[in-house]
Protein backbone atom coordinates (compact mmCIF):
# COMPACT_ATOMS: atom_id res chain seq x y z
CA UNK A 1 0.00 0.00 0.00
CA UNK A 2 2.85 2.30 0.91
CA UNK A 3 4.61 1.35 -2.30
CA UNK A 4 1.48 2.18 -4.23
CA UNK A 5 1.34 5.65 -2.73
CA UNK A 6 4.98 6.26 -3.49
CA UNK A 7 4.44 5.33 -7.11
CA UNK A 8 1.43 7.56 -7.29
CA UNK A 9 3.33 10.53 -5.96
CA UNK A 10 6.03 9.78 -8.45
CA UNK A 11 3.56 9.75 -11.27
CA UNK A 12 1.97 12.88 -9.85
CA UNK A 13 5.26 14.72 -9.95
CA UNK A 14 5.64 13.89 -13.64
CA UNK A 15 2.61 15.89 -14.50
CA UNK A 16 4.46 19.13 -14.07
CA UNK A 17 7.41 17.83 -16.06
CA UNK A 18 8.03 17.82 -19.75
CA UNK A 19 7.08 15.09 -22.17
CA UNK A 20 10.19 13.25 -23.35
CA UNK A 21 8.76 10.88 -25.89
CA UNK A 22 5.46 11.17 -27.64
CA UNK A 23 4.20 8.45 -29.97
CA UNK A 24 0.85 8.99 -31.69
CA UNK A 25 -0.81 6.37 -33.87
CA UNK A 26 2.53 4.91 -34.85
CA UNK A 27 2.26 2.18 -37.44
CA UNK A 28 4.99 0.17 -39.03
CA UNK A 29 5.07 -2.60 -41.59
CA UNK A 30 7.81 -4.93 -42.70
CA UNK A 31 6.65 -5.38 -46.29
CA UNK A 32 3.05 -6.43 -45.66
CA UNK A 33 3.61 -7.62 -42.09
CA UNK A 34 2.07 -5.14 -39.64
CA UNK A 35 4.62 -5.00 -36.76
CA UNK A 36 3.42 -1.93 -34.88
CA UNK A 37 -0.31 -1.26 -34.76
CA UNK A 38 -1.45 2.19 -33.77
CA UNK A 39 0.96 2.68 -30.89
CA UNK A 40 0.18 5.56 -28.54
CA UNK A 41 2.74 6.18 -25.84
CA UNK A 42 3.77 9.18 -23.80
CA UNK A 43 6.90 9.08 -21.68
CA UNK A 44 7.60 11.88 -19.21
CA UNK A 45 11.08 13.03 -18.26
CA UNK A 46 12.55 10.83 -15.57
CA UNK A 47 10.04 8.05 -16.13
CA UNK A 48 11.21 4.43 -16.12
CA UNK A 49 9.32 2.11 -18.38
CA UNK A 50 9.66 -1.62 -18.75
CA UNK A 51 8.31 -3.25 -21.89
CA UNK A 52 7.56 -6.95 -21.96
CA UNK A 53 5.70 -9.35 -24.15
CA UNK A 54 6.11 -12.55 -26.12
CA UNK A 55 8.83 -13.01 -28.72
CA UNK A 56 8.03 -11.30 -31.98
CA UNK A 57 5.50 -8.92 -30.44
CA UNK A 58 7.38 -5.85 -31.69
CA UNK A 59 9.15 -4.68 -28.51
CA UNK A 60 12.52 -4.20 -30.17
CA UNK A 61 10.91 -2.57 -33.17
CA UNK A 62 9.08 -0.12 -30.93
CA UNK A 63 12.15 1.17 -29.13
CA UNK A 64 14.25 1.11 -32.30
CA UNK A 65 11.76 3.51 -33.87
CA UNK A 66 12.59 6.03 -31.16
CA UNK A 67 16.15 6.56 -32.42
CA UNK A 68 15.32 5.76 -36.01
CA UNK A 69 17.19 2.49 -36.30
CA UNK A 70 13.84 1.58 -37.84
CA UNK A 71 11.59 4.01 -39.68
CA UNK A 72 7.86 4.11 -38.94
CA UNK A 73 5.47 4.62 -41.82
CA UNK A 74 2.46 6.26 -40.18
CA UNK A 75 1.90 8.39 -37.12
CA UNK A 76 4.08 10.78 -35.23
CA UNK A 77 7.10 10.34 -32.97
CA UNK A 78 8.38 13.38 -31.10
CA UNK A 79 11.50 12.98 -28.96
CA UNK A 80 12.43 15.83 -26.62
CA UNK A 81 10.48 18.25 -28.76
CA UNK A 82 12.02 17.14 -32.06
CA UNK A 83 9.79 15.35 -34.52
CA UNK A 84 11.28 12.33 -36.28
CA UNK A 85 11.01 12.74 -40.03
CA UNK A 86 13.17 11.94 -43.02
CA UNK A 87 15.19 15.01 -42.09
CA UNK A 88 18.72 13.84 -41.34
CA UNK A 89 19.39 16.78 -39.02
CA UNK A 90 16.45 15.85 -36.83
CA UNK A 91 17.58 12.23 -36.73
CA UNK A 92 21.11 13.25 -35.75
CA UNK A 93 19.81 15.60 -33.08
CA UNK A 94 17.64 12.86 -31.60
CA UNK A 95 20.40 10.27 -31.67
CA UNK A 96 22.53 12.64 -29.65
CA UNK A 97 19.86 12.70 -26.94
CA UNK A 98 19.12 9.00 -26.95
CA UNK A 99 21.56 6.31 -25.78
CA UNK A 100 21.01 2.67 -26.65
CA UNK A 101 22.19 -0.59 -25.12
CA UNK A 102 21.83 -3.77 -27.15
CA UNK A 103 21.31 -7.40 -26.28
CA UNK A 104 24.64 -8.36 -27.83
CA UNK A 105 26.55 -5.29 -26.54
CA UNK A 106 27.78 -4.31 -30.01
CA UNK A 107 31.05 -2.91 -28.71
CA UNK A 108 33.61 -2.05 -31.38
CA UNK A 109 36.10 -4.93 -31.18
CA UNK A 110 38.97 -3.06 -32.83
CA UNK A 111 38.95 -0.27 -30.23
CA UNK A 112 39.90 -0.39 -26.58
CA UNK A 113 37.27 0.08 -23.90
CA UNK A 114 38.36 3.69 -23.50
CA UNK A 115 38.33 4.33 -27.25
CA UNK A 116 34.86 2.80 -27.50
CA UNK A 117 33.70 5.37 -24.98
CA UNK A 118 35.49 8.41 -26.42
CA UNK A 119 34.67 7.77 -30.09
CA UNK A 120 31.28 9.48 -30.20
CA UNK A 121 32.12 12.41 -27.89
CA UNK A 122 35.20 13.18 -30.00
CA UNK A 123 33.61 12.80 -33.42
CA UNK A 124 29.99 13.70 -32.84
CA UNK A 125 30.36 16.32 -30.10
CA UNK A 126 33.82 17.48 -31.26
CA UNK A 127 35.08 17.22 -27.69
CA UNK A 128 38.86 17.51 -27.21
CA UNK A 129 40.46 14.09 -26.74
CA UNK A 130 41.74 14.77 -23.21
CA UNK A 131 38.36 15.94 -22.04
CA UNK A 132 36.60 12.97 -23.66
CA UNK A 133 39.00 10.56 -21.95
CA UNK A 134 38.44 12.15 -18.56
CA UNK A 135 34.69 11.92 -19.08
CA UNK A 136 34.92 8.30 -20.25
CA UNK A 137 36.99 7.32 -17.23
CA UNK A 138 34.45 8.96 -14.96
CA UNK A 139 31.63 6.87 -16.45
CA UNK A 140 33.75 3.72 -16.53
CA UNK A 141 34.39 4.32 -12.84
CA UNK A 142 30.66 4.52 -12.27
CA UNK A 143 30.05 1.16 -13.89
CA UNK A 144 33.07 -0.09 -11.91
CA UNK A 145 35.23 -1.04 -14.84
CA UNK A 146 37.77 1.79 -15.06
CA UNK A 147 40.65 -0.62 -14.40
CA UNK A 148 39.90 -2.37 -17.71
CA UNK A 149 39.98 0.84 -19.76
CA UNK A 150 42.92 -0.19 -21.91
CA UNK A 151 41.74 -3.70 -22.70
CA UNK A 152 39.87 -4.71 -25.82
CA UNK A 153 36.22 -5.82 -25.58
CA UNK A 154 37.18 -9.37 -26.55
CA UNK A 155 39.20 -9.65 -23.35
CA UNK A 156 36.24 -8.92 -21.06
CA UNK A 157 33.40 -11.07 -19.73
CA UNK A 158 29.86 -10.56 -21.02
CA UNK A 159 28.77 -8.64 -17.94
CA UNK A 160 31.79 -6.38 -18.16
CA UNK A 161 31.16 -5.77 -21.85
CA UNK A 162 27.56 -4.80 -21.22
CA UNK A 163 28.63 -2.36 -18.50
CA UNK A 164 31.13 -0.83 -20.96
CA UNK A 165 28.28 -0.53 -23.48
CA UNK A 166 26.23 1.35 -20.87
CA UNK A 167 29.17 3.65 -20.12
CA UNK A 168 29.71 4.22 -23.84
CA UNK A 169 26.11 5.36 -24.25
CA UNK A 170 26.28 7.54 -21.12
CA UNK A 171 29.38 9.35 -22.40
CA UNK A 172 27.11 11.16 -24.87
CA UNK A 173 25.15 12.46 -21.84
CA UNK A 174 21.84 11.28 -23.27
CA UNK A 175 18.50 12.37 -21.84
CA UNK A 176 16.92 9.03 -22.65
CA UNK A 177 18.34 5.52 -22.45
CA UNK A 178 16.91 2.61 -24.42
CA UNK A 179 17.73 -0.94 -23.36
CA UNK A 180 16.88 -3.90 -25.59
CA UNK A 181 17.06 -7.06 -23.48
CA UNK A 182 20.38 -6.00 -21.97
CA UNK A 183 20.75 -9.10 -19.81
CA UNK A 184 19.33 -11.86 -21.94
CA UNK A 185 22.63 -12.74 -23.61
CA UNK A 186 24.42 -12.96 -20.25
CA UNK A 187 25.29 -15.90 -18.07
CA UNK A 188 23.08 -15.90 -14.96
CA UNK A 189 25.88 -14.88 -12.60
CA UNK A 190 26.52 -11.71 -14.62
CA UNK A 191 22.93 -10.53 -14.84
CA UNK A 192 23.03 -8.92 -11.40
CA UNK A 193 26.03 -6.69 -12.06
CA UNK A 194 24.34 -5.22 -15.12
CA UNK A 195 20.96 -4.82 -13.41
CA UNK A 196 22.66 -3.10 -10.47
CA UNK A 197 24.19 -0.60 -12.87
CA UNK A 198 20.80 0.04 -14.43
CA UNK A 199 19.14 0.45 -11.03
CA UNK A 200 21.73 3.08 -10.11
CA UNK A 201 21.06 4.86 -13.34
CA UNK A 202 17.33 4.82 -12.62
CA UNK A 203 17.96 6.24 -9.17
CA UNK A 204 19.72 9.19 -10.76
CA UNK A 205 16.56 10.11 -12.62
CA UNK A 206 17.41 8.98 -16.15
CA UNK A 207 14.46 8.52 -18.50
CA UNK A 208 14.60 4.82 -19.36
CA UNK A 209 12.80 2.48 -21.69
CA UNK A 210 13.78 -1.05 -21.07
CA UNK A 211 12.74 -4.19 -22.90
CA UNK A 212 13.34 -6.97 -20.40
CA UNK A 213 11.83 -10.04 -18.86
CA UNK A 214 13.58 -9.44 -15.54
CA UNK A 215 10.41 -9.01 -13.54
CA UNK A 216 12.30 -8.32 -10.33
CA UNK A 217 13.88 -5.35 -12.02
CA UNK A 218 10.49 -4.20 -13.29
CA UNK A 219 9.07 -4.36 -9.76
CA UNK A 220 11.85 -2.34 -8.13
CA UNK A 221 12.55 0.21 -10.83
CA UNK A 222 9.67 0.69 -13.23
CA UNK A 223 7.12 3.47 -12.98
CA UNK A 224 5.07 1.73 -15.60
CA UNK A 225 5.10 -1.71 -17.17
CA UNK A 226 3.91 -2.07 -20.74
CA UNK A 227 2.74 -5.36 -22.15
CA UNK A 228 2.88 -5.81 -25.90
CA UNK A 229 1.43 -8.57 -28.02
CA UNK A 230 1.23 -8.84 -31.81
CA UNK A 231 2.29 -5.27 -32.39
CA UNK A 232 -0.13 -3.68 -29.94
CA UNK A 233 0.19 -2.21 -26.48
CA UNK A 234 -2.25 -4.46 -24.71
CA UNK A 235 -1.95 -3.12 -21.20
CA UNK A 236 0.07 -0.62 -19.21
CA UNK A 237 0.07 -0.07 -15.48
CA UNK A 238 2.35 0.62 -12.51
CA UNK A 239 4.17 -2.60 -11.56
CA UNK A 240 2.10 -3.52 -8.48
CA UNK A 241 -1.12 -3.26 -10.36
CA UNK A 242 0.35 -4.90 -13.43
CA UNK A 243 1.63 -7.94 -11.60
CA UNK A 244 -1.14 -8.31 -9.02
CA UNK A 245 -4.23 -7.32 -10.97
CA UNK A 246 -3.64 -7.61 -14.69
CA UNK A 247 -6.81 -6.67 -16.56
CA UNK A 248 -6.36 -8.44 -19.84
CA UNK A 249 -6.54 -12.14 -20.43
CA UNK A 250 -3.46 -12.06 -22.69
CA UNK A 251 -1.42 -10.34 -19.96
CA UNK A 252 -2.46 -12.93 -17.42
CA UNK A 253 -1.50 -15.76 -19.69
CA UNK A 254 1.89 -14.18 -20.42
CA UNK A 255 2.59 -13.52 -16.74
CA UNK A 256 1.57 -17.05 -15.94
CA UNK A 257 4.13 -18.39 -18.37
CA UNK A 258 6.94 -16.10 -17.41
CA UNK A 259 6.53 -16.16 -13.60
CA UNK A 260 6.29 -19.93 -13.35
CA UNK A 261 9.67 -20.50 -14.93
Amino acid sequence: MELMEETLTRLESHKTQEVMILMEHVNKWYHDFHVLKDIDLTVMAGERIVICGPSGSGKSTLIRCINRLEAHQRGRIVVDGIELTEDVKAIDAIRREVGMVFQHFNLFPHLTVLENCTLAPIWVKKMPKKEAEALALQYLQRVRIADQAHKYPGQLSGGQQQRVAIARALCMKPKIMLFDEPTSALDPEMVKEVLDTMIELAAEGMTMLCVTHEMGFARTVADRVIFMDRGEIVEQAPPEEFFLHPKEERTRRFLGQILHH
Binding site: R96, N106, H110, L119
Partner: protein, 363 residues
Protein backbone atom coordinates in the same frame (compact mmCIF):
# COMPACT_ATOMS: atom_id res chain seq x y z
CA UNK B 1 41.84 -30.72 -10.11
CA UNK B 2 43.97 -33.78 -9.81
CA UNK B 3 47.27 -32.34 -10.99
CA UNK B 4 49.18 -30.13 -8.62
CA UNK B 5 49.94 -26.63 -9.94
CA UNK B 6 53.70 -27.21 -9.82
CA UNK B 7 53.50 -30.05 -12.32
CA UNK B 8 55.17 -29.22 -15.62
CA UNK B 9 53.96 -30.37 -18.99
CA UNK B 10 55.77 -33.51 -20.13
CA UNK B 11 58.83 -32.81 -22.25
CA UNK B 12 58.62 -34.47 -25.64
CA UNK B 13 62.02 -35.76 -26.67
CA UNK B 14 62.66 -35.15 -30.31
CA UNK B 15 64.10 -38.31 -31.59
CA UNK B 16 65.47 -37.84 -35.11
CA UNK B 17 65.20 -41.47 -36.12
CA UNK B 18 61.68 -41.77 -34.86
CA UNK B 19 60.69 -38.57 -36.68
CA UNK B 20 62.11 -39.99 -39.91
CA UNK B 21 60.28 -43.25 -39.46
CA UNK B 22 56.97 -41.57 -38.69
CA UNK B 23 57.09 -38.92 -41.37
CA UNK B 24 59.08 -40.27 -44.27
CA UNK B 25 59.15 -44.08 -44.03
CA UNK B 26 55.80 -44.94 -42.47
CA UNK B 27 54.86 -47.49 -45.13
CA UNK B 28 55.98 -48.98 -48.44
CA UNK B 29 54.33 -46.21 -50.52
CA UNK B 30 55.75 -43.44 -48.39
CA UNK B 31 59.17 -45.03 -48.45
CA UNK B 32 59.08 -45.29 -52.23
CA UNK B 33 57.96 -41.66 -52.58
CA UNK B 34 60.70 -40.50 -50.23
CA UNK B 35 63.33 -42.35 -52.22
CA UNK B 36 62.06 -40.92 -55.51
CA UNK B 37 62.06 -37.43 -54.03
CA UNK B 38 65.59 -37.86 -52.72
CA UNK B 39 66.76 -39.08 -56.11
CA UNK B 40 65.19 -36.09 -57.87
CA UNK B 41 66.73 -33.67 -55.40
CA UNK B 42 70.17 -35.26 -55.82
CA UNK B 43 69.78 -35.18 -59.59
CA UNK B 44 68.63 -31.58 -59.95
CA UNK B 45 69.67 -29.42 -57.01
CA UNK B 46 73.47 -29.66 -57.40
CA UNK B 47 73.46 -28.74 -61.14
CA UNK B 48 71.11 -25.81 -60.55
CA UNK B 49 73.19 -24.51 -57.65
CA UNK B 50 76.30 -25.04 -59.75
CA UNK B 51 74.87 -23.04 -62.62
CA UNK B 52 73.59 -20.27 -60.35
CA UNK B 53 76.59 -19.92 -58.04
CA UNK B 54 79.59 -22.26 -58.10
CA UNK B 55 80.29 -22.40 -61.83
CA UNK B 56 78.92 -18.91 -62.49
CA UNK B 57 81.00 -15.97 -63.65
CA UNK B 58 80.78 -13.01 -61.29
CA UNK B 59 83.65 -10.80 -62.41
CA UNK B 60 84.59 -9.35 -65.75
CA UNK B 61 83.46 -6.66 -68.13
CA UNK B 62 82.36 -8.34 -71.36
CA UNK B 63 81.04 -11.60 -72.67
CA UNK B 64 84.60 -12.70 -73.43
CA UNK B 65 85.13 -13.15 -69.67
CA UNK B 66 82.27 -15.64 -69.27
CA UNK B 67 83.25 -19.26 -68.45
CA UNK B 68 81.21 -21.95 -70.04
CA UNK B 69 79.10 -24.22 -67.82
CA UNK B 70 77.68 -21.61 -65.48
CA UNK B 71 75.62 -18.49 -65.50
CA UNK B 72 77.32 -15.29 -66.59
CA UNK B 73 76.20 -12.59 -64.19
CA UNK B 74 78.46 -10.03 -65.88
CA UNK B 75 75.55 -9.47 -68.24
CA UNK B 76 73.30 -8.36 -65.38
CA UNK B 77 76.06 -6.22 -63.89
CA UNK B 78 76.76 -4.50 -67.18
CA UNK B 79 73.13 -3.72 -67.85
CA UNK B 80 72.12 -3.06 -64.26
CA UNK B 81 71.69 0.67 -64.73
CA UNK B 82 69.42 0.14 -67.69
CA UNK B 83 67.37 -2.45 -65.81
CA UNK B 84 66.84 0.00 -62.97
CA UNK B 85 66.27 3.24 -64.85
CA UNK B 86 65.48 2.39 -68.48
CA UNK B 87 66.57 5.28 -70.67
CA UNK B 88 66.41 7.84 -67.90
CA UNK B 89 69.45 10.08 -68.64
CA UNK B 90 72.48 8.89 -66.67
CA UNK B 91 73.31 12.31 -65.27
CA UNK B 92 69.75 12.68 -63.90
CA UNK B 93 69.47 9.27 -62.25
CA UNK B 94 70.26 10.71 -58.83
CA UNK B 95 66.72 12.11 -58.97
CA UNK B 96 65.23 8.63 -59.11
CA UNK B 97 67.42 7.55 -56.20
CA UNK B 98 66.45 10.60 -54.19
CA UNK B 99 62.76 9.97 -54.91
CA UNK B 100 63.06 6.36 -53.74
CA UNK B 101 64.98 7.43 -50.66
CA UNK B 102 62.44 10.08 -49.71
CA UNK B 103 59.55 7.64 -50.14
CA UNK B 104 61.27 5.27 -47.74
CA UNK B 105 62.62 7.77 -45.20
CA UNK B 106 59.45 9.83 -44.96
CA UNK B 107 57.49 6.64 -44.32
CA UNK B 108 59.62 5.62 -41.33
CA UNK B 109 57.56 7.53 -38.72
CA UNK B 110 54.43 5.70 -39.90
CA UNK B 111 55.81 2.49 -38.45
CA UNK B 112 56.06 3.83 -34.92
CA UNK B 113 52.60 3.25 -33.53
CA UNK B 114 53.46 5.27 -30.41
CA UNK B 115 54.00 8.48 -32.34
CA UNK B 116 51.33 10.95 -31.17
CA UNK B 117 51.00 12.78 -34.51
CA UNK B 118 50.92 9.62 -36.60
CA UNK B 119 47.54 10.22 -38.20
CA UNK B 120 48.51 13.72 -39.25
CA UNK B 121 51.85 12.49 -40.57
CA UNK B 122 50.11 9.81 -42.62
CA UNK B 123 47.75 12.32 -44.23
CA UNK B 124 50.67 14.64 -44.99
CA UNK B 125 52.69 11.75 -46.36
CA UNK B 126 50.02 10.61 -48.79
CA UNK B 127 49.36 14.14 -49.99
CA UNK B 128 52.91 15.45 -50.17
CA UNK B 129 55.04 12.48 -51.28
CA UNK B 130 53.33 11.99 -54.66
CA UNK B 131 53.92 15.65 -55.52
CA UNK B 132 57.55 15.49 -54.43
CA UNK B 133 58.18 12.28 -56.35
CA UNK B 134 56.45 13.58 -59.46
CA UNK B 135 58.58 16.73 -59.35
CA UNK B 136 61.80 14.78 -58.84
CA UNK B 137 61.10 12.33 -61.63
CA UNK B 138 59.46 14.60 -64.17
CA UNK B 139 61.08 17.91 -63.29
CA UNK B 140 59.00 20.03 -65.66
CA UNK B 141 61.58 22.76 -65.28
CA UNK B 142 60.25 23.65 -61.81
CA UNK B 143 63.02 24.97 -59.52
CA UNK B 144 65.58 24.28 -62.20
CA UNK B 145 65.00 20.54 -62.60
CA UNK B 146 65.05 19.79 -66.34
CA UNK B 147 62.15 17.78 -67.73
CA UNK B 148 62.66 14.06 -68.24
CA UNK B 149 59.76 13.01 -70.43
CA UNK B 150 57.98 9.79 -69.57
CA UNK B 151 59.23 8.20 -72.82
CA UNK B 152 62.60 8.02 -71.13
CA UNK B 153 61.32 6.38 -67.97
CA UNK B 154 61.78 2.65 -67.85
CA UNK B 155 63.07 -0.40 -66.09
CA UNK B 156 62.34 -1.23 -62.48
CA UNK B 157 61.70 2.43 -61.78
CA UNK B 158 58.77 2.48 -64.22
CA UNK B 159 57.43 -0.79 -62.86
CA UNK B 160 57.48 0.60 -59.34
CA UNK B 161 55.86 3.86 -60.43
CA UNK B 162 52.99 2.01 -62.11
CA UNK B 163 52.59 -0.43 -59.23
CA UNK B 164 52.71 2.26 -56.54
CA UNK B 165 50.35 4.65 -58.30
CA UNK B 166 48.10 1.73 -59.19
CA UNK B 167 47.91 0.56 -55.59
CA UNK B 168 47.56 4.04 -54.10
CA UNK B 169 44.83 4.93 -56.57
CA UNK B 170 42.99 1.63 -56.78
CA UNK B 171 42.56 1.00 -53.05
CA UNK B 172 40.61 4.18 -52.21
CA UNK B 173 38.59 3.91 -55.40
CA UNK B 174 37.91 0.25 -54.72
CA UNK B 175 36.70 1.07 -51.21
CA UNK B 176 34.35 3.74 -52.55
CA UNK B 177 33.01 1.33 -55.16
CA UNK B 178 32.44 -1.35 -52.53
CA UNK B 179 30.53 1.13 -50.34
CA UNK B 180 28.60 2.33 -53.37
CA UNK B 181 27.62 -1.18 -54.32
CA UNK B 182 26.02 -1.59 -50.89
CA UNK B 183 24.41 1.85 -50.97
CA UNK B 184 20.69 2.34 -50.30
CA UNK B 185 20.51 4.81 -53.17
CA UNK B 186 19.63 2.91 -56.35
CA UNK B 187 21.40 5.33 -58.69
CA UNK B 188 24.74 5.03 -56.90
CA UNK B 189 24.33 1.29 -56.58
CA UNK B 190 23.67 0.78 -60.29
CA UNK B 191 26.59 2.99 -61.33
CA UNK B 192 28.96 1.06 -59.06
CA UNK B 193 27.75 -2.37 -60.13
CA UNK B 194 28.01 -1.42 -63.80
CA UNK B 195 31.50 -0.03 -63.31
CA UNK B 196 32.74 -3.08 -61.40
CA UNK B 197 31.24 -5.60 -63.77
CA UNK B 198 32.51 -3.76 -66.83
CA UNK B 199 36.13 -3.60 -65.70
CA UNK B 200 36.09 -7.13 -64.37
CA UNK B 201 34.77 -8.37 -67.67
CA UNK B 202 37.58 -7.18 -69.91
CA UNK B 203 41.24 -8.27 -69.83
CA UNK B 204 43.77 -5.65 -68.73
CA UNK B 205 45.62 -6.03 -71.98
CA UNK B 206 42.48 -4.96 -73.87
CA UNK B 207 42.02 -2.01 -71.56
CA UNK B 208 45.59 -0.86 -72.16
CA UNK B 209 45.23 -1.35 -75.86
CA UNK B 210 41.99 0.58 -76.00
CA UNK B 211 43.50 3.37 -73.93
CA UNK B 212 46.15 3.97 -76.57
CA UNK B 213 44.22 3.20 -79.74
CA UNK B 214 40.63 4.16 -79.02
CA UNK B 215 40.96 7.02 -76.55
CA UNK B 216 42.66 9.36 -79.05
CA UNK B 217 39.73 8.83 -81.41
CA UNK B 218 37.37 10.38 -78.90
CA UNK B 219 39.60 13.25 -77.88
CA UNK B 220 40.16 16.45 -79.87
CA UNK B 221 43.25 16.22 -82.01
CA UNK B 222 45.48 18.73 -80.24
CA UNK B 223 44.71 17.14 -76.89
CA UNK B 224 46.94 14.19 -76.19
CA UNK B 225 47.21 12.45 -72.89
CA UNK B 226 50.60 11.15 -71.89
CA UNK B 227 51.02 7.45 -72.57
CA UNK B 228 52.10 6.72 -69.02
CA UNK B 229 49.14 8.63 -67.58
CA UNK B 230 46.80 6.58 -69.75
CA UNK B 231 48.39 3.37 -68.53
CA UNK B 232 48.13 4.53 -64.91
CA UNK B 233 44.45 5.38 -65.28
CA UNK B 234 43.76 2.04 -66.94
CA UNK B 235 45.55 0.12 -64.18
CA UNK B 236 43.79 2.07 -61.42
CA UNK B 237 40.30 1.57 -62.86
CA UNK B 238 40.92 -2.07 -63.64
CA UNK B 239 42.36 -3.03 -60.26
CA UNK B 240 39.84 -0.90 -58.34
CA UNK B 241 37.07 -3.14 -59.67
CA UNK B 242 38.81 -6.20 -58.24
CA UNK B 243 39.58 -4.52 -54.94
CA UNK B 244 35.97 -3.38 -54.66
CA UNK B 245 34.81 -6.98 -54.61
CA UNK B 246 37.46 -7.96 -52.06
CA UNK B 247 36.46 -5.08 -49.79
CA UNK B 248 32.77 -5.88 -50.24
CA UNK B 249 33.49 -9.34 -48.90
CA UNK B 250 34.89 -7.73 -45.77
CA UNK B 251 31.95 -5.36 -45.41
CA UNK B 252 29.51 -8.24 -45.59
CA UNK B 253 31.27 -9.99 -42.74
CA UNK B 254 30.66 -7.13 -40.30
CA UNK B 255 27.60 -7.83 -38.13
CA UNK B 256 24.60 -5.52 -38.45
CA UNK B 257 24.95 -4.65 -34.77
CA UNK B 258 28.13 -2.70 -35.50
CA UNK B 259 26.32 -0.40 -37.92
CA UNK B 260 23.45 0.00 -35.47
CA UNK B 261 25.72 0.82 -32.55
CA UNK B 262 27.54 3.42 -34.64
CA UNK B 263 24.28 5.02 -35.77
CA UNK B 264 22.78 4.93 -32.30
CA UNK B 265 25.79 6.90 -31.03
CA UNK B 266 25.04 9.58 -33.61
CA UNK B 267 27.96 8.92 -35.95
CA UNK B 268 27.28 10.01 -39.53
CA UNK B 269 27.44 7.60 -42.45
CA UNK B 270 31.05 8.48 -43.29
CA UNK B 271 32.10 8.47 -39.66
CA UNK B 272 30.54 5.04 -39.12
CA UNK B 273 32.26 3.71 -42.19
CA UNK B 274 35.65 5.31 -41.57
CA UNK B 275 35.89 4.74 -37.83
CA UNK B 276 33.93 1.56 -37.17
CA UNK B 277 33.15 -0.53 -40.23
CA UNK B 278 36.10 -0.16 -42.61
CA UNK B 279 38.85 -0.62 -40.00
CA UNK B 280 37.29 -3.98 -39.18
CA UNK B 281 36.35 -4.95 -42.72
CA UNK B 282 39.75 -4.12 -44.23
CA UNK B 283 41.50 -6.07 -41.50
CA UNK B 284 39.48 -9.14 -42.43
CA UNK B 285 40.44 -8.94 -46.09
CA UNK B 286 44.15 -8.11 -45.86
CA UNK B 287 45.04 -11.41 -47.56
CA UNK B 288 42.70 -10.67 -50.46
CA UNK B 289 43.91 -7.10 -50.82
CA UNK B 290 47.56 -8.14 -50.85
CA UNK B 291 46.73 -10.87 -53.31
CA UNK B 292 45.34 -8.22 -55.66
CA UNK B 293 48.38 -6.00 -55.09
CA UNK B 294 50.70 -8.85 -56.02
CA UNK B 295 48.72 -9.58 -59.16
CA UNK B 296 48.79 -5.87 -60.00
CA UNK B 297 52.55 -5.74 -59.52
CA UNK B 298 53.07 -8.55 -62.00
CA UNK B 299 50.43 -7.22 -64.41
CA UNK B 300 52.42 -4.00 -64.84
CA UNK B 301 54.57 -5.87 -67.35
CA UNK B 302 51.63 -5.74 -69.76
CA UNK B 303 52.31 -2.04 -70.42
CA UNK B 304 54.66 -3.24 -73.15
CA UNK B 305 51.52 -3.38 -75.29
CA UNK B 306 51.39 0.40 -75.42
CA UNK B 307 55.13 0.78 -75.89
CA UNK B 308 56.28 1.45 -72.34
CA UNK B 309 59.48 -0.33 -71.35
CA UNK B 310 58.98 -1.56 -67.80
CA UNK B 311 61.43 -3.77 -65.93
CA UNK B 312 60.58 -6.99 -67.70
CA UNK B 313 60.64 -5.40 -71.15
CA UNK B 314 63.99 -3.78 -70.44
CA UNK B 315 65.48 -7.12 -69.46
CA UNK B 316 63.93 -8.81 -72.44
CA UNK B 317 65.31 -6.19 -74.82
CA UNK B 318 68.80 -6.54 -73.36
CA UNK B 319 68.72 -10.30 -74.00
CA UNK B 320 68.00 -9.77 -77.69
CA UNK B 321 70.60 -7.03 -78.17
CA UNK B 322 73.51 -8.34 -80.28
CA UNK B 323 76.28 -7.89 -77.68
CA UNK B 324 74.61 -10.22 -75.15
CA UNK B 325 72.76 -12.60 -77.46
CA UNK B 326 72.55 -16.05 -75.91
CA UNK B 327 72.27 -14.91 -72.29
CA UNK B 328 68.50 -14.81 -72.09
CA UNK B 329 68.37 -17.45 -69.30
CA UNK B 330 70.40 -15.21 -67.02
CA UNK B 331 68.14 -12.30 -67.89
CA UNK B 332 64.90 -14.13 -67.19
CA UNK B 333 66.20 -15.76 -64.02
CA UNK B 334 67.23 -12.34 -62.78
CA UNK B 335 63.87 -10.82 -63.72
CA UNK B 336 62.02 -13.63 -61.97
CA UNK B 337 64.20 -13.15 -58.90
CA UNK B 338 63.44 -9.42 -58.70
CA UNK B 339 59.68 -9.92 -59.16
CA UNK B 340 59.80 -12.63 -56.54
CA UNK B 341 61.61 -10.37 -54.06
CA UNK B 342 58.93 -7.71 -54.29
CA UNK B 343 55.96 -10.07 -54.26
CA UNK B 344 57.36 -12.18 -51.43
CA UNK B 345 58.12 -8.97 -49.53
CA UNK B 346 54.50 -7.85 -49.85
CA UNK B 347 53.27 -11.25 -48.77
CA UNK B 348 55.50 -11.32 -45.67
CA UNK B 349 54.54 -7.78 -44.77
CA UNK B 350 50.85 -8.64 -44.93
CA UNK B 351 51.36 -11.65 -42.67
CA UNK B 352 53.28 -9.53 -40.18
CA UNK B 353 50.54 -6.89 -40.30
CA UNK B 354 47.81 -9.45 -39.69
CA UNK B 355 49.71 -10.90 -36.74
CA UNK B 356 50.27 -7.48 -35.23
CA UNK B 357 46.62 -6.52 -35.55
CA UNK B 358 45.49 -9.86 -34.15
CA UNK B 359 47.86 -9.49 -31.21
CA UNK B 360 46.62 -6.00 -30.43
CA UNK B 361 43.07 -7.30 -30.13
CA UNK B 362 43.99 -10.60 -28.42
CA UNK B 363 40.69 -12.07 -29.39
Amino acid sequence: MSSSPSLRPPVVRVDALRWLRENLFSGPINTALTLVALYLLWRFVPPVLGWLFFDATWQGSSRADCHPGGACWIFIGQRFGQFLYGFYPAEERWRVNLAALSIILLAVPLFFSRLPQRRRWAIGYFLFTPVLVWWLLYGAGILGLPTVSTDQWGGLMLTLVIAAVGIAGALPLGILLALGRRSQLPAIKIVCITFIEFWRGVPLITVLFMSSVMLPLFLPEQMSIDKLVRALIAVILFEAAYLAEVVRGGLQAIPKGQYEAAHALGLSYWQSMGLVILPQALRLVIPGIVNTFIALFKDTSLVIIIGLADFFTTVHRATVAPEWLGFSTEGYVFAAFVYFLFCFGMSRYSIALEKRLARSEKR
